[in-house]
């Protein structure tokens, strides 16, 4: 294939589809009870140096109970695909991120991330490769399809292309230049869902963000769920199973697992909490204090919820409006 131009960004995770196929072949296809605690899921499946991705969109459906556990277990040198908000900020703040495929890190209406600059300056965050959101979801899609690349018309002509590892080729059908982006295979994907059964068959309500593609681009998949439901319920509505069991390695029961983010139809964003993070993350000291209070000094997600308090959680449920 005749390459007209290439991005100078490093290929952090090579698109080795054949190795991915071999891995998937060996995955357990039986209906096995995969329920475990956050602590066990993270200990078993996430290791120093792993390339991971958390699935979410803004502060919505964030797998926070898992992210907090990663911080608690202090798993370092993570390589992270970064379409992230609060949860990626937390990983960065804890000094756990070494390399990133990057598209957006910020705090939405509260503006830029304060911790990322500190991590770049410290040298801990050593490599950043640029992409757009569309390019990333297409990279996941290529992995999901089992092909090493996919053509896109994003990034063309920009520095986003230049600092990516995309390639520019001439379309053999139309003759126009088009970008190719490499399949992105994650060592570990982390997704929070509304409901799952014990085997990992998952349902999501409302928009699904990156869930379909990221779940299928992950070698290992950790799912946390607001509710564990019987498999008979899954079988009554198989068209709701966006993530089937065979993709999943761990199922963690995590009510309010997205807090302080929202979970549509269940509870709203904890706006003051997110604002608080936006504020304290400005200084290393206040950041450390936040991490101590909400993660390091806490045993597990149950204790976290106790700290937030029943009343607050109840309030976040109560303000969910009707569907219409």
């Amino acid at each position: 294939m005749n390459i007209l131009e290439e991005g100078i960004g490093e290929l952090l995770q090579p698109p080795d589809i054949d190795a991915f196929r071999e891995w998937n072949r060996k995955k357990n296809k039986s209906l096995t009870d995969k329920r475990m605690t956050e602590a066990e899921a993270v200990r078993r499946y996430i290791h120093s140096g792993d390339y991971i991705g958390t699935e979410l969109y803004g502060s919505v459906r964030c797998p926070m109970s898992i992210v907090n556990e990663i911080v608690r277990q202090d798993i370092k040198n993570l390589r992270v695909v970064g379409q992230g908000v609060y949860e990626t900020d937390i990983l960065l703040a804890a000094g756990l991120v070494k390399e990133m495929d990057f598209t957006y890190i910020g705090l939405e209406l509260y503006g830029i991330s304060h911790v990322i600059r500190r991590e770049i300056d410290s040298g801990r965050l050593g490599k950043i490769v640029e992409w757009s959101n569309g390019s990333l979801v297409w990279r996941f899609k290529a992995a999901a399809m089992g092909v090493p690349f996919i053509p896109v018309r994003s990034m063309l002509g920009t520095d986003t292309f230049k600092y990516s590892s995309a390639k520019l080729v001439e379309c053999p059908y139309t003759g126009v230049p088009i970008a190719l982006v490499p399949a992105l295979i994650l060592d570990v994907g982390i997704i929070h869902v509304h409901r799952a059964d014990q085997y990992g068959n998952c349902q999501i309500d409302g928009i699904s963000g990156f869930a379909y593609e990221l779940s299928r681009a992950s070698k290992t998949l950790i799912v946390s769920a607001e509710e564990i439901i019987p498999t008979a319920e899954i079988r009554r509505h198989p068209d709701r199973t966006i993530i089937p069991y065979y993709l999943v390695d761990a199922v963690v029961h995590a009510p309010y697992g997205s807090h302080p983010g929202e979970m549509c139809y269940l509870y709203e964003r904890d706006e003051p909490h997110i604002q608080h993070w936006a504020e304290v993350s400005k200084t290393p000291e206040a950041t450390q204090e936040y991490l101590d209070t909400y993660i390091y000094d806490i045993e597990d997600h149950q204790e976290y919820l106790a700290l937030i308090g029943e009343e607050r959680l109840k309030y976040l449920q109560d303000i969910v409006p009707d569907r219409g």
Binding site: L56, Y57, G58, S59, V60, R61, G82, Q83, V85, F102, T103, Y104, I105, G106, E108, L109, I112, S113, I116, R117, I120, E130, W131, S132, N133, G134, S135, V137, W138, K141, R153, S154, M155, L156, G157, T158, D159, T160, Y163, L168, V176, P177, A179, G206, I207, S208, G209, F210, A211, Y212, E213, E262, C264, Y265, E268, R269, E271, V320, P321, G324
Partner: protein, 255 residues
């Protein structure tokens, strides 16, 4: 004439809102575009089809979205699938307007939202492209919403995150971007700007009320073309302000 009190932010929102036509499809980013879209739906464009990046399409903006994936972005929506569906929709030419922000803009409407300073040793690390590059690549007409000053309106970007007209006429097509797409308007606290049809360079179309052309030029870090006739935008109407304050941002997130 009745005197109406409003702040520059409110003026900015009203100007952006007026650009959103009924029954059109518009990609709505975080912040001002959300306020403008909500205001437009309640004023002149009840069937403005808002498209939010992570899947929400055709939502009724009863409550102001604060995040592009929050439930308010697909409240009573017509469709709520995933990000791929939205990006593909833009890819197939279904999205007319794309509302974007950025830290820097150049005369060709290219945007920087990645870094200030050197890429490897940035002065400021900005949030990055997110969906910005995709919107700038695929939507038919992009509308940038910016604060207007010399550090933001500059001749040469530190980093080109999102394509405008790139290096000028024909450059988008040469790069492989879909023909017929590109920057359409820039809305700022000082002015409404467009692009010269031939040279594709930014051009002053209108000033915000009480702002002079000179003020706009002084706050622009590159040579700005001037339209043959430069009008002054109408002030926010009492109705616009009331709806904006009492209905759109009733939780006072932004205003």
């Amino acid at each position: 004439m009745i005197e109406i009190n409003y702040n520059p932010n409110e003026m900015l929102i009203c100007t952006a809102s007026r650009l959103m036509s009924d029954n059109s499809t518009a990609f709505i980013g975080t912040g001002i575009p959300m306020l403008a879209a909500s205001l437009a739906q309640k004023m002149h464009a009840p069937n403005l089809m808002t498209i939010f990046e992570f899947g929400g399409m055709g939502a009724i903006l009863d409550d102001l979205p604060v995040a592009v994936g929050g439930r308010r972005s697909f409240h009573k929506a017509l469709s709520a699938l995933g990000i791929l569906d939205v990006i593909e929709m833009a890819g197939r030419g279904f999205i007319e307007y794309g509302f974007l922000g950025g830290a820097q803009i150049d005369p060709y409407g290219n945007l920087n939202s990645t870094v200030i300073g050197d890429f490897y040793k940035p002065k400021v690390r900005l949030p990055g492209s997110g969906g910005g590059n995709d919107v700038g690549s695929h939507c038919w007409q992009t509308i940038a919403i910016m604060r207007h000053d010399k550090r933001r309106f500059i001749e040469k970007l530190d980093f080109m995150t999102t394509p405008g007209y790139l290096s000028g006429p024909g450059a988008r097509e040469a790069a492989g971007l879909p023909p017929g797409t590109g920057p359409f308007r820039v809305v700022t606290n000082l002015a409404l700007l467009g692009y010269h049809p031939e040279s594709k360079r930014m051009m002053l179309l209108a000033t915000q009320p009480g702002v002079s052309v000179e003020q706009v030029l002084e706050n622009t870090g590159f040579e700005l073309l001037l339209a043959d006739e430069i009008i002054e935008n109408p002030q926010p109407s009492a109705q616009e302000l009331r709806i904006l304050r009492e209905e759109v941002d009733k939780e006072k997130f932004y205003i």
